[in-house]
Structures are given as C-alpha cells and as structure tokens.
Symmetry: C2
Subunit: 214 residues, 2 copies
C-alpha cells in the first residue's frame, strides 16, 4: 500500500519476501485451489509480487511443491527412523507409542504441508518421490507394529498391517479439522490419540465371550 | 468397439446407459480428476456417449454431484438416526459401538461416493448442503459419545468431542487405502476399528500411575 516503508518485513509488492514466506503462501494456495489449478501468476498475485520477483526466489512451481513435501516428510522421517532403532532398554511397544505421539506433534507443527502431502496422487516425479517416502514410512511403522505384536504387547486378534493403517489413519485425519487456535492443544490431541489407540475408550471390564463369532 | 452388439448391457456409444452407470462413472472421474476439473464432455468421452446422450439422463454435472453426495450420506444418516434413538434396553455405549461398526460397513459399501463427500469444500449450494448434513451427523455422533461418557462407559480423561473427531477420523481414513478386493474384508476392518477404538491395542495391564503428568 505505502510506497516507501522503512521496515522490510511483510510488505507487499516488493522482492523483500523471503523464501519461507513464499513457500507458506504457496502451500496455502495449493491446499485451497489444488496444486494443478494454481499458477505462479496466482501466487504472485496472492503475495502482491510480480512473477519475475517470485522467480528471483524459486525456479518453478514444482520446486515449491518439492520443498513443501520435504517440510512435511523430514521430521516425520527422523521420528520414524528414531523409533525403528532397536535400542537396549526400550521395547517396540514403547517406541511405537512414542512415535504415534510424536507423529501427532509433527503433523500439528507442519499441518499445511502435511495436508498437501496427504493429497498427493503421484502426478509428477516430485509427487512420486514423496509417495515413495510415505511408503517407506508406512513400511517402517508396520514393522514396528509387528515387532510390538511379536513382543506380546499388542492384542493378537488384529493384523499388524491393518493396525498400522488405522493408527496412522487416525493421526492423519487431524489435518481435516485440527486448528492450532481451537479447543485442544497439541498435547491434548496427542494424549487422546495414544490413549484411544492403545488403552481403548471403554472403561468397563471386557465382557466374557458369549459366542465364538467376533 | 463393435458396431452391432445384441446385448444392451455395458455397450459403449449408445444411450442405453442407465443413470446408475453414468453416476458411477461420474463419481470415479470426479475422484480422479477433481469435480471442478471434470466437464460433462469428459464424462461423455469416458462413457463413449455424446453429450446430448448424457443430458438425456441427467440435467447437469451438479445433479450428478448431488446424487453422489446423497448416496454417500443417506445410509450413514439412517445409521446415525437409528443409533441416536434412546431405546429401552440399549446403552449409549452399545449404540455408539454399533454405529462405529456400521459406519465402516457403509463407507466400504459406498466408498467412491464417500471419498467424494470427504473432499467437498463448500464451493456451491449442493456442496454446502452436503457439509450441513455432515455437520448434523458429527453433532449426533458427538452427542452419542457424550451420552456414553455420561453413562460411565467411556474413560473420562478424553473430551467427548475430541473422541468423536478421532473415532470417525479413523473410520474416514479408510477411503484412502481400503480396497474391497484387498487383504481385508469388511468385517475384519469393522472388527479392527471397533476393537482398537474401544478396547485398545495394548495387551498388558495398564501400568500404575508413576507421575501426575499425563
């Protein structure tokens, strides 16, 4: 709005925008309009920049997507790598419980880019690479569930691969409704997810089996 | 491919397609390409029909969306209405557990249209009406969780509204990976969801509290 502003931060129409701000705006636009439907022109307009000004910071729309997906994946990858490490003194069950909790924290901290990640369908090399990283994470988590089951720490009547899907399905569903400024802080949600998944909601004692059918 | 075929079913390029087949193809296309990016021309091409042939059966793309969203919502609405009925001899806990199970069955039976429903963002009257119906369902389910908690059947340390979100977040996450021809049948998934949510995965006895912090 003003033509001469002394402080460089957050002003519009100038090349002073840093890459992080451009990335943030890009992720927000990709989530709102869809990646394919968003042009660099849209992004420039959103930021009040010219297209050349944007290209001063990033080489392409795909580079922005790539960075956003890395943002979504890097911390999760670190957490899962950590959880997969069979250290003395920790059970697979403890590491699984911890990584479920940690994945809630990572999702909340990187919600816009995780939202984008969960919508990726593999329409380009960048998207395929992200899907490949997701698959690696899923495989490690399924292994961890299987290890915890093998320890005898998990109930034996649900297949580990299915447990892994449902557990992280519950975590991922947070992107649809969680608001950092809403009723629940990260710790409350992380508690709820781990308590529901591992301890169960039911307070009563399990009923004695009355039939063979499940 | 053939120009003269004696049997009318599944042939291409003819107006013999019934509305259900058109709707099925439309939902599949909407999910694959996105609703906004799909034209009636795309749908005609997919079905091997002319556009006038399509318009012989449906009045608009929006009518197809509306029918698809009704398909996703009608049975779920019936199930939730049933579960909300406070009948003698059933606890809220029993009705909640039954409706979680039933919602898995409905999702699996209507997976393409539920997938579409879960992507709706409110860009038109039809989408807003569907979101309104989703909100009604969410509210009934949250009430049911609160009733079950009030009965003392659910653990008291997780807020009922959060429980409801996470429970149905886990159910809804099925649209992302469930395949009817895959490793798990509907009953196995319904069992797994209810067992994880209500009974918990952990086999061990809960550890005695060692600190006040959660």
């Amino acid at each position: 709005m003003t033509t001469a502003e002394p402080t460089p931060r957050r002003r519009r129409g100038r090349p002073g925008h840093d890459q992080a701000a451009i990335l943030r705006a890009a992720v927000e636009l990709f989530n709102r309009k869809g990646y394919d439907a968003t042009s660099m022109g849209d992004l420039a307009k959103e930021l009040g920049l010219t297209k050349p000004a944007i290209y001063h910071h990033v080489t392409s729309k795909e580079q922005l997507l790539s960075r956003a997906l890395d943002d979504a994946l890097d911390e999760l990858t670190a957490a899962v790598t950590e959880a997969s490490r069979k250290e003395a003194g920790t059970s697979a069950y403890q590491r699984l419980r911890a990584v479920v909790r940690r994945s809630v924290e990572v999702l909340v901290a990187h919600q816009p880019s995780v939202t984008l990640l969960l919508r990726v369908r593999g329409n380009s090399e960048v998207e395929l690479a992200a899907l490949e990283r997701r698959r690696w994470l899923d495989d490690r988590l399924a292994e961890l569930v299987a290890d915890a089951a093998a320890e005898g720490a998990l109930r034996a009547d649900v297949p580990p691969a299915l447990v892994s899907r449902l557990l992280f399905g519950m975590v991922n569903s947070l992107v649809e409704w969680y608001r950092a400024d809403g009723a629940y802080d990260t710790a409350a949600v992380a508690d709820a997810v781990t308590v529901i998944a591992f301890d169960g909601l039911a307070r009563h004692e399990p009923e004695p089996p009355t039939s063979q059918a499940s």
